[in-house]
Symmetry: C2
Subunit: 312 residues, 2 copies
């Protein structure tokens, strides 16, 4: 198994990425190799600084970088030798089994769609995120930004993708799938949620438990929460701001600690033909490590094949 990492992605790249890869290396069995894609000279320098043998990694040298603020589609096309473009090339050719980056989210989304492409039957791949549950465990909310506008059949598919992620990566048995809405009753909602509800009610693809509301994000009503990427992105950023606030205020609590993005490592792009994980821009070595371990889990769980089967 070969796990690819863009070492040029993230606000603290390449140092945080390389240090994270080193931390990960010590936890992996010999047959799980890390492939570091980026400026090999910088990788070697960082390894030397910390006394780590760079030969434990496989290196793929690239000499271009897609910046955090660059236009995704233009950057991917104009920088074929960027770490992200090269990473997707390797993934498409099967030379790596997963690819992850804490770099430009849009470029990762575009890159995955252009290279490994959407799984046949999946209308719109999406990005989930993990939310800590008050009574322990985690929930999944999706989409959190890949698709600002969604149609009802797309939201229905997010339910399937979220269910499979919850079952195969987070070991939730028969996950409860809820539709984010502004009231519990079937007749509450906007045009999108009103049209989505009956599709979800009728599906046999997952365990639909009905509408849930903003206040239910952290309770146990639903394991998987489905919404369009506009709503999900606003929810995600608002929740993150609360975590930041509790930290600023010096409020210590086990629950709030579990908001720490570092623990989750990143969001997979669900619905494309290979494991792809996007990390937080501010990723620390710890976050990079968890992003790589998530990539590994996506490979070993066979999630991609399970998604393909579900959409056959």
């Amino acid at each position: 198994m070969r796990i690819g990492l863009d070492v040029m992605g993230g606000d603290y790249a390449p140092k945080a990425a390389v240090l994270g890869a080193i931390e990960t290396y010590t936890t992996l069995p010999a047959d799980q190799k890390l492939v570091l894609i980026g400026d090999s000279n910088q990788v070697k320098t960082i390894c030397t600084e910390v006394g780590f043998d760079v030969n434990n990694f496989e290196l793929v040298h690239t000499d271009e970088v897609i910046g955090m603020g660059e236009h995704p589609t233009k950057a991917i096309v104009k920088k074929p030798n960027s770490s992200i473009a090269v990473g997707f090339g390797l993934l498409k050719e099967g030379k790596i089994d997963a690819f992850s980056s804490a770099g430009n989210t849009g470029a990762m989304l575009v890159g995955s769609m252009f290279s490994v492409k959407a799984i046949p039957g999946v209308i719109r791949p999406c990005m989930p995120t993990i939310v800590p549950k008050l009574h322990g465990g985690v929930g999944i909310i999706l989409d959190v930004g890949a698709n600002a506008d969604c149609k009802p059949d797309v939201l229905l598919q997010f339910g399937i993708l979220g269910k499979l992620l919850a079952e195969n990566i987070y070991e939730v048995n028969n996950p409860k799938v809820g539709l984010m809405n502004i009231g519990e009753e079937e007749e509450k909602g906007n045009l999108l949620s009103l049209a989505t509800y009956p599709l979800m009610k009728d599906t046999e693809m997952f365990n639909f438990i009905g509408n849930i509301e903003g206040r239910d994000l952290f309770n146990d009503k639903a394991d998987v929460i489905v919404c369009d990427g506009f709503t999900g992105n606003i929810i995600l950023k608002l929740a993150e701001s609360f975590y930041v606030l509790t930290r600023k205020k010096g409020l210590k609590d086990e629950f709030f600690d579990r908001f720490n993005y570092e623990q989750y490592g990143g969001s997979p792009i669900l619905g494309v033909n290979a494991p792809v994980v996007i990390g937080h821009g501010i990723s620390s070595p710890e976050a990079i490590k968890n992003m790589l371990l998530l990539s590994r889990d996506l490979i070993t769980s066979g999630l991609i094949d399970k998604i393909k089967q579900a959409f056959q």
Copy 2:
């Protein structure tokens, strides 16, 4: 001035409503009268219990109540002698200058649209709510649930309504109006926000500062945050759940204390021809008092006339 209150509305009605009215009475000058609409016998009993002279109030007896779970439109039509229906009748006839209730939100919305009606030019009246700002003061977010689906021109109008509310009730000078979105750049967003941005950018009706994100709810970027009622309702309930969480966790902080809905008393319905305020279902006497004081401020500020002028 005559301030109308539905004493039958709210989870703890009529007791919380009457006790709130008594608390308010002691703070009002003689020319600001409270008109209590509901079961007069119950009002008298509660006043006697606490040794308060019921003659300080004006009572309007009603013998029907619209329950919290009833269908708004049907209930208003079927229960013409309910406290909400009678209250709106008095408001329409000018026998009270404002009407407020902690009862059925939908019935209050429908009642205001059917009786005093939307101000000419206002496409969709809406409900704002107040959010505490981290560095002091408050912000306004609207709509939070009256209009699940909105068009760009409706969001533009919410900007005008929010600006006038901020200026006239919360004494914010030249309020900064932001559009809730999923990125700061003009080209980010869903179809609705993409179409709304240029309208707001071009308007001279308010000080548009661009897109803001979920993480900006509590900072000082915008005084007024505009979104559709679906998004706003989810934001509101998520923010409330955080406040409940900090309370449950025993985390004490001045900022989180300012989330307490009791301090704000309720949400006005903006864009109708008279002051109408909807309180939280779980309103305590303190919340009822602040709802009545907000009603009073809506009258004295002349906000309704200022909205009429803006939409002429």
